[in-house]
Amino acid sequence: MDVHDRMEQPIISLQAAPCPAPTQRARKRARRRKAGCCGRGFAVGQPIGSAGAWRAPCRFRSPFPSQFCARRRSGFVHMEPAEAEFLAEKELVTIVPSFSMDRVHLIGGDLGPFNPGLPVEVPVWLAINLKQRQKCRLIPPEWMDVEKLEEIRDQERKEDTFTPMPSPYYMELTKLLLNYASDNIPKADEIRTLVKDTWDTRMAKLRLSADSFVRQQEAHAKLDNLTLMEINTIGTFLTQALDHMYKLRTNLQPSGSTESQDF
């Protein structure tokens, strides 16, 4: 365990609206390590000799297999998109029910009394179920509006960094609401296109920043305003790729304790 604590590793700190626990741990570790680390990350890719491998300035080696290393080192837990959607379904949305029912007490909270024609806020999972059973009409959230989304998209295109999104689950909510309740949402096709444009811009920025992170051999990166779905999309790949690169680099270090073969 000692070896790992002293190891210098590139830390990716992603600051998102709801902070998932793993990255918090990663940040804590980073703060601890900054005191005694060499501050070097990876070398920029230049093939050396015939091997064509990365030159790694640090002399750390890991006895553990790489996948396990990725999880341990980055502390990043990969989530399926379905899991992110599941978490998104807890968000509240307004519906207009066509039935009446008294208040329901569930473990996660109360579901308010339902009266026909009166709007009430319910979690998305219930709204979708009621909609499929033709018992309600969905009202799109405020941000799901063509002008607002156009503004957001243009803002995103102008800025170099990530702008705050109207909802931490904007992608999942768009997909759910447009799949099941597109007849309640005006101009559904345009909304879909606008959200997709915003998503594409943000993913492009994410890729660009990951690329520059690697090239400039940074040890620490901080990205604000990322949503869970975007983190999941790039998270595993980035951390595993960096781990691989790290392994390759460390294995090329001329270390005193190992003897290289004579050619």
Partner: protein, 572 residues
């Protein structure tokens, strides 16, 4: 008894119960079943679905399930026989019957407790009055009581004479009444026809409960179109029902005109079309469709060389190059497709085909998917009767049921391919029958029998395909023959059903006239003939007038025909 308020007397009763759905094997029943299933899913009603293709299966299913269920719903089966007698249910079992077969059995009409008919009252039902059919048993008891009254001996003889006179008069009245009853029943039950489609009845129920969706409306349209494709209803009734559905369509689909608030492209839209009656033409090439639709092929007489020439003339008259017409419809030039309908109608009028366009609806969702109602009918019917045996017998039914949902487009396309094969097979069989003069005139009717070695004969061992084949054959024969008398004759068609068991399936089609009321008398004729010859026939199909099974040996013997002729003479 007839149900007046569908919602209170039917739906509210079963919404808290477990229900058994017995669904017949035709497209109209499938659509009605889909609508009812959607309603059940909204309200979490527990149900079991049992597809039945004949009376035997119905009885078996009932016997299997009668201990577990108290509420049974029959879709497109059960109205034209005495259900209580056949099924012998318990006292607390309730039957809900939603059937388009007519005439409705009088026991079903007048039973107050157990049988509820979900039928629209304004259908021309002509049910005989209660008093004409049923006589109270109490009248007879009174008679016998009077007889046993004691009285004084002096008046006894006079009273005795009076009583004798009374009794004979009563008996005579009773005999007259019974004779009249037999006549009324005979008139009522001799012709079989079809009423409003069950899918439309179910859609009405959904509408009354304000739970109707575009999807359900589409299924109601497909159910109605199925009745038209299979020639079960008159043209007038079809047009009236289309008018009713058109109101619902505009109610659900008016948002499409408004540019501001138009719906997403993925939402389903239904549109009214005055479109060509060519089968599957948008999923096929125009040429193939012209060759394989009965209307055009019969009028142009496409089984003969001259007919082929006429077809070429027809296409030339419209200005459509052969190369364009023979490729897939979607790849035809846009300039040709723009005014296609009007052009075809004009040319068709010149060639004697005045009804080439028909009022129908089309559905449209996503960017690629556009279907006419008749396309769906052909696809679903051929899926349901496909002869590939994979898995248990109900797989075909379930596949056909699934293909009606919008999410199962691959099954629908499979159905379209099977339908194309079926239509081609029908046309080839019709052409060969007419060219080889297989249609024989047997006096009061025409007769045609398919030999076992005929190509694609296995396709015609199922009732719906065989009926389609027979109808097309009759139409083509009427166009091909010069004998004026033969044009007015009905047709009896026989095809091998199961080669190993040596059974044959037979169908009777009423004569082809301009204004036929689609009433079929063959059911009774076949039954009578079967009874008289004591032959082993199986009237299994719900359409009594059509298919029934008999052994091929019986067919070859002359006795059967003789009796059918006799029975028919009695009818006409």
């Amino acid at each position: 008894m007839f149900v007046t308020d569908c919602r209170r007397e039917f739906y509210d009763v079963i919404v808290s119960q477990r229900v058994l759905l017995l669904v017949a094997s035709d497209v109209d029943a499938l659509c009605a079943c889909k609508i009812l299933q959607a309603l059940f899913q909204c309200d979490h009603v527990q149900y079991t679905l049992v597809p039945v293709s004949g009376w035997q299966e119905l009885e078996t299913a009932f016997l299997e399930h009668k201990d577990q269920f108290k509420y049974f719903v029959f879709i497109n089966c059960g109205a034209n026989v005495d259900l209580l007698e056949i099924l012998q249910p318990e006292e607390d079992t309730y039957f809900f019957v939603c059937d388009s077969h007519r005439p409705i059995n009088i026991v079903n009409v007048y039973n107050e407790t157990q049988i509820k008919l979900l039928v629209k009252q304004d259908d021309d039902l002509d049910v005989p009055a209660y008093d004409d059919i049923f006589r109270d048993e109490e009248d007879e008891e009174e008679e016998s009581e009077n007889e046993s009254d004691g009285s004084e001996p002096s008046d006894k003889r006079r009273r005795f004479e009076e009583e004798v006179i009374e009794r004979t008069m009563k008996r005579r009245q009773r005999r007259e009444w019974e004779a009249r009853r037999r006549e009324i029943l005979f008139d009522y039950e001799q012709y079989e026809y079809h009423g409003t489609s069950s899918a439309m009845v179910m859609f009405d129920l959904a509408w009354i409960m304000s739970k109707d969706l575009n999807d359900m409306l589409w299924w109601a349209i497909v159910g109605l179109t199925d009745q038209w494709v299979q020639d079960k209803i008159t043209q007038m009734k079809y047009v009236t029902d289309i008018g009713i559905l058109q109101r619902h369509v505009s109610r659900h689909n008016h948002r499409n005109e408004d540019e501001e608030n138009s719906l997403s492209i993925d939402c389903m839209r239904i549109a009214f079309e005055y479109d060509l009656r060519l089968a599957l033409y948008q999923h096929w090439s125009l040429y193939e469709s012209l060759c394989n639709t009965s209307y055009t092929s019969a009028n142009l007489k496409l089984w003969s060389v001259q007919g082929q020439k006429r077809l070429q003339e027809f296409l030339a008259d419209m200005g459509l190059p052969l190369k364009q017409v023979k490729q897939k419809f979607n790849s035809m030039d846009m300039s040709l497709k723009e005014n296609l309908r009007e052009m075809i109608e004009e040319s068709a009028n010149k060639f004697g085909m005045r009804d080439l366009r028909v009022q129908t609806f089309s559905i449209h969702f996503g960017f690629k998917n556009k279907f006419l109602a008749s396309d769906i009918v052909y696809a679903t019917a051929s899926l349901m009767e496909s002869i590939e045996k994979e898995g248990p017998e109900t797989t075909n039914f379930i596949k056909a049921l699934d293909s009606l949902s919008r999410g199962n487009l691959d099954k629908l396309h499979q159905g379209l391919d099977l339908a194309k094969k079926q239509l081609r097979a029908i046309q080839q069989t019709v052409a060969s029958c007419i060219c080889t003069n297989l249609v024989i005139s047997q006096g009061p009717f025409l007769y045609c029998s398919l030999m076992e070695g005929t190509p694609d004969v296995k396709l015609f061992s199922k009732p719906i395909s065989l009926c389609l084949l027979s109808k097309y054959l009759l139409k083509s024969f009427v166009c091909s023959t010069k004998n004026k008398r033969c044009k007015l004759l009905p047709l009896i068609m026989a095809a091998p059903m199961d080669v190993e068991q040596g059974t044959v399936i037979m169908v009777g089609i009423p004569p082809e006239t301009e204004s036929s009321d689609k009433k079929n008398f063959f059911g009774r004729a076949f039954e009578k003939a079967a009874d008289s010859t004591n032959s082993r026939t199986l009237h299994n199909h719900f359409d009594m007038s059509n298919c029934f099974r008999l052994s091929s040996a019986l067919l070859r013997s002359g006795a059967f025909w003789f009796l059918v002729l006799e029975a028919e003479d009695q009818m006409l």
